[in-house]
Symmetry: C2
Subunit: 337 residues, 2 copies
């Protein structure tokens, strides 16, 4: 650990873990040693940590931490850099950063790769900063890199008021896309429109396939960012324009999909997808670099902000998970240290 | 019609058509007017025409000619340019070309876009030249452009002795791929290896999924060129390496496929596909240009040749179709005018 700046660090910290998978109640505080940054890493004194769907699925036992990652949940944090490892620029110490991490975010201190950190702009709160990395990296990569979205195209996103959905609306609008979302109630549709969605379809009262066709004058959307999968896939493909792309980032509605390959071939559709957590550090660093170059200027000028739902104290992580599972949140849930 | 070179053209010609869809016997000769080239077109005195699976499916009534295309079957030809339309370089007249056409190949004369013609090298017979365009354009686009195949990768192709299969072997080996094919008999496997396949799997006696895993030491293939679709899709996906691509160019085994989206997402697979015939002229011209630049030098030096099955006289087109439907052919079937 380099001594670029002097911080007095405690030996131990409070973190949130669980012994066995289960409901939100399995989350409980524990005392762990404050970790030391290895080469290329920084230690962040966490101010806020974002709560994400993968944390919930991990707690349920269906998405174990990848090899080498902390067993503590939490994929994004914001706070002050209080120690730096070998090879990290010394001027990072003492700065406010937000970071994508492979785990360990639900804690007072968390390690992050220096290459996975973004500087928190002066005008942005640490609460907001903590709510950005996971959805920003995910939406950026899957919509613009994997999904090749370009200005003037139509993006369809299910779950328009989720963390991913609200980020997809925000980024989509910043980069010239027409954004169509689906939501499960009129009030969520209104919230999505408020956030910037061009169109919000209440999937409980409308067939989204028909609605997308009407909105696009029969042409379809160029891109679907899919978190539902299962039986939605065939319907999504029917919503796609010729040469359309279908990018899956979660399978909340089931894994098995029946698709028409003649449609894929005849209309030159593309289905792909990815998960972020298990990707190599070098990949995440490359996405971080892309984001710094192309999206972060919007964060600096105030145009890129997360939609905030609610903050919970760290020790009430169970309540935060329960809120996410209720589906009542609009935007991001965070934990405050 | 420009008069760059003087040819005496008959008013009428023999072509092969059909009145109603059905078995090979519905194909019958008819007399049609020799067409005149419009702007950007050439008239080719056809020496040979290739027979392709889409011709058979068209005759069966399942793949109608696209709007504006000749109702006469035949998607590739070779012969002498005997007339040119406005805007076509006059030195094309009198040359030997092979061409991708949208139909009309089963005839003594056929129109082609000048931008869809390839010059027949001196060392190549017109019979061979006629057997190249359809599979060359299809394999080139779907393996190298749509499928992003690159040197050192592993390509899996079902139907290794078909026209597409033999072209995939040939092009794959010219561009540094490891080519694995499946075939339905030991003799076809032997033929595929003779043509250049690195591995040939007899799908009647071996599980191709297991065989591909063994051949690739568990890693899988980077690319599947899929002509079967249906129940093969899920098995193909299991054969794919991480970041693998699955490109569908025919659905001979059925359209409906059940796939595991968690596999697509978790291993970042891509499924896509395309058909060639209905693409705009500008697209085909762009592929032709790519082929001229990157693949045609191999044709000029003799390294790129089609695998030839059998030639039939034009008036025996029904026998040519019957042979394709028997599945006994190895490589390309052609018609001689």
């Amino acid at each position: 650990m380099a001594d670029a700046t002097s911080f007095t660090l405690p030996a131990t910290m409070t973190a949130i873990g669980f012994d066995a998978p289960g409901g939100p109640h399995v989350l409980r505080a524990e005392t762990l040693n404050v970790p030391s940054p290895a080469e290329g890493e920084v230690l962040v004194k966490v101010a806020f940590a974002g709560v994400n769907r993968p944390d919930v699925i991990q707690r349920q036992g269906f998405y174990p931490a990848p090899p080498g990652a902390s067993p503590i949940p939490g994929l994004e944090i914001a706070g002050e850099v209080v120690a730096i490892g070998e090879g990290v620029a010394s001027d990072l110490a003492g700065t406010h950063v937000c970071a994508l991490v492979t785990g360990g975010g639900y804690a007072q201190y968390c390690l992050a790769k220096a290459a996975h950190c973004l500087p928190v702009p002066a005008e942005m709160s640490l609460a907001e900063a903590a709510a950005l990395p996971e959805t920003l990296f995910t939406v950026w990569h899957n919509v613009f890199e994997r999904g090749w979205a370009s200005e003037g195209e139509v993006l369809l996103v299910h779950g328009g008021t989720s963390g991913i959905g609200t980020m997809a609306i925000t980024l989509g609008k910043l980069f010239g896309l027409t954004v169509i979302v689906t939501c499960g109630s009129e009030s969520k549709c209104a919230a999505a429109r408020q956030i910037g969605a061009d169109h919000a379809i209440n999937y409980k009262t409308q067939d989204f396939v028909e609605a997308v066709k009407t909105i696009t004058s029969g042409k379809g959307a160029q891109l679907v960012l899919d978190m539902v999968s299962g039986s939605y896939v065939a319907r999504n493909l029917t919503c796609l324009a010729e040469d359309g792309r279908h990018v899956t980032i979660a399978v909340l509605g089931g894994m098995q999909a029946e698709i028409n390959m003649a449609q894929v071939m005849g209309r030159r559709l593309t289905l792909t997808g990815s998960t972020l957590r298990a990707r190599p550090d070098s990949f995440k660093a490359a996405v971080c670099e892309e984001i710094l170059r192309h999206a972060w200027p919007f964060a600096e000028e105030g145009a890129l902000r997360p939609v905030m739902d609610q903050a919970f104290p760290l020790t009430e992580a169970a309540a935060a998970h329960a809120r996410m599972e209720s589906g009542e949140h609009i935007g991001k849930i965070i934990l405050e240290m």
